[in-house]
């Protein structure tokens, strides 16, 4: 008897589980989004199992074999300027390229949402202070900010990841802040507060579930931008260092070969493009499946 009255645990969030199942169902019927997800999965699997799939060592090449065309015997996609097998390098390159494209958005997702929720939930001066600081970073076009930071910090994978994270925190924080601010004055949050729930509980139980959805969709489309930017940094020589295979860097080193083997030189860009467009299409599908409007 006593047990039943003391049990004040919040009810299990039945509705939210149903919501995500609905979204999943709608997404599965979206052919374009599913095709995009399939392409991404394929590229991801190829990158993970690169040692098993890649026909050759991505770092070893023979100069006598340099710049062979696509379709050469033993080198299906030709060879690069140092005679390394292009197919193997493209497969291995997926590891660093995907890592560089996805990691900044994931980190910015965590940090940016936290900043945005705090600003939105606290309101008042805290909000003004945080959001005006965020505005400063909005005064730099994203490419410029990424190049400025990694240019000042110096070339390298870590610095590039850091710069890109800084670039993506402000937009995510803004979305999180606007959603949280809207939620804060809604009736069910009022009700939770009136029934004695602390700020942390309200954020954890009521705010997070409502905020993370829109940000998740937004972040998916940001990965498309991040892929282009991250490879762009490598293309400028600010990201991954040679001889490591990374699509942007490969594009850079093959640039001198466009008069000799133009189509081999263009291959790494095809990979960046495919990943980027797939993330955009997947984000579009997610958005319409969740009926979230930007």
């Amino acid at each position: 008897m006593a047990d039943a009255t003391i049990d004040l645990a919040p009810p299990a969030p039945i509705r939210s589980a149903g919501f995500w199942r609905n979204v999943g169902g709608r997404l599965r019927r979206d052919r374009t989004a599913m095709a995009a997800a399939f392409v991404l999965l394929l590229i991801l699997l190829a990158a993970i199992f690169a040692p098993l799939i890649a026909p050759m060592d991505p770092l070893e090449g023979r100069l006598v074999n340099r710049l062979k065309p696509i379709g050469t015997e033993g080198h299906l996609l030709g060879t690069d300027e140092l005679g390394r097998d292009m197919l193997s390098r493209l497969i291995w390159g997926g590891r660093l390229s995907l890592l560089m494209g996805v990691t900044p958005v994931v980190m910015a997702f965590v940090i940016g949402s936290a900043i945005g929720i705090v600003a939105g939930y606290a309101g008042g001066w805290t909000n003004t202070l945080i959001m005006r600081t965020i505005d400063v970073f909005y005064a730099f076009p994203s490419v410029l900010l990424a190049v400025a930071l990694s240019g000042a910090l110096g070339a390298g994978l870590g610095n590039a990841l850091f710069s890109l994270t800084v670039v993506f925190i402000p937009p995510i924080a803004r979305v999180a802040e606007s959603v949280t601010t809207r939620l804060r004055s809604s009736d069910f949050i009022e009700a939770a507060r009136a029934s004695g729930a602390g700020a942390l509980t309200i954020v954890r139980v009521h705010v997070l579930g409502n905020v993370l959805g829109p940000i998740f969709v937004y972040a998916t489309s940001l990965i498309a931008v991040s892929m282009i930017l991250a490879s762009g940094l490598s293309f400028l020589g600010l990201g991954v260092r040679p001889p490591n295979p990374e699509w942007g860097l490969m594009l850079n080193t093959l640039r001198t070969a466009i008069y000799v083997q133009p189509w081999v030189a263009a291959l790494p860009g095809v990979m960046i493009f495919m990943v980027s467009i797939s993330f955009n299409l997947l984000a579009d599908g997610l958005r319409s499946a969740m009926e979230v409007r930007q």
Partner: protein, 316 residues
């Protein structure tokens, strides 16, 4: 109108201060002694100390910042370490080339983007809409530096129709308005226009289909207005937002031109940044970024004010 403009300018001041703090900090987050690139390798401790005092590196960050800021406000952004020339001169020479390229690209992107957007919005969910939307997704997804390479491969390497690099014949550093110089601009401008094209197409499509669904359009049609007349109403309603997006895109292109300028060896701010980074020329890096960010902030300000002039409802 004037009150709004003034309020908007005042709101910009703290952002400008923040921007200068970030630019100032760039030199200080850079690893290593900032003096290292100007000091001879065998410099004595005494010389090092004297230079440190001369450049003000012995003072507190706050003092250094104020000194730097007051100089920057007078147009003195320091001296380039690599060339020994004033940073302001270097940046101003390059910024014209970038502005030229970015403006042409924005106009191309705006015309094509609006065209696609209008067609897609008018015939929503038709095959035409699908094609235009596909073009828009292409525009926002394609790595533009790669697209530039592909265009060079096709039109320079294979067909030999257009020059692949530079701003003019014989490595001419300054852009002039003549046919020869124009041919150098075609490829980089088209490459650059793809990004705003995609974004403007998406925006305009959403705007047009939203406006067409509104009741006043039904009202106009009910009163027997020709389809052309309705179209003009749609244009008038879509224009403020579309123009605002265009202005902001111009700012993005100005700041984001580094990749395209690197591909095409276009002698603008992007090339300047590129060489500043690889020669560890920090004053030049700092100055270029400050100028580009200022352009972006001012452009945003102009866009906001213009938008409120076109559409008085926006004034908050």
């Amino acid at each position: 109108m004037l009150a709004y403009t003034i309020r908007r300018i005042i709101l910009t001041l703290p952002v400008l201060l923040g921007v200068s703090v970030v630019c100032f900090a760039l030199v200080h987050i850079s690893p290593g002694d900032p003096l290292i690139s100007i000091l001879p390798a065998d410099a004595s401790v005494d010389l090092q100390e004297r230079l440190r005092v001369l450049y003000g590196f012995d003072r507190s960050y706050a003092e250094q910042f104020l000194l730097w800021l007051s100089r920057a406000m007078q147009g003195d952004l320091g001296t380039s370490i690599a060339t020994g020339r004033s940073v302001t001169t270097e940046v101003m020479r390059a910024v014209g080339n970038t502005l030229m390229l970015a403006s042409v690209a924005t106009v191309i992107g705006f015309v094509l983007g609006s065209l696609f957007g209008f067609v897609a919005g008018y015939f929503a969910n038709s095959p035409v809409d699908k094609a235009a939307s596909a073009a828009a997704v292409f525009g926002v997804s394609v790595p533009h530096y790669w697209l530039g390479m592909v265009l060079v491969i096709i039109f320079s390497a294979q067909l030999g129709w257009l020059p692949a690099a530079g701003a003019g014949p014989g490595g001419s550093g300054q852009w002039r308005l003549d046919l020869e110089h124009l041919s150098y601009m075609i490829l980089p401008a088209i490459t650059m226009s793809v990004i705003p094209m995609g974004i403007i197409a998406r925006t305009v499509r959403a705007l047009v289909s939203e406006i067409l669904a509104q009741e006043f359009v039904i009202g106009l049609r009910a009163r027997g207005l020709s389809e052309w007349g309705v179209f003009l109403h749609v244009v008038k309603n879509a224009a403020p937002t579309a123009l605002a997006v265009m202005g902001i895109q111009l700012g993005y292109l100005l700041g984001g031109s580094i990749l395209i300028e690197t591909v095409f060896s276009w002698p603008g701010t992007g090339m300047l940044l590129n060489s500043a980074i690889f020669q560890r020329d920090l004053p030049l890096l700092q100055g270029t970024i400050l100028v580009l960010a200022l352009f972006f902030v001012v452009l945003n300000l102009i866009v906001d004010v213009m938008q409120s002039a076109l559409d008085p409802r926006i004034k908050r």
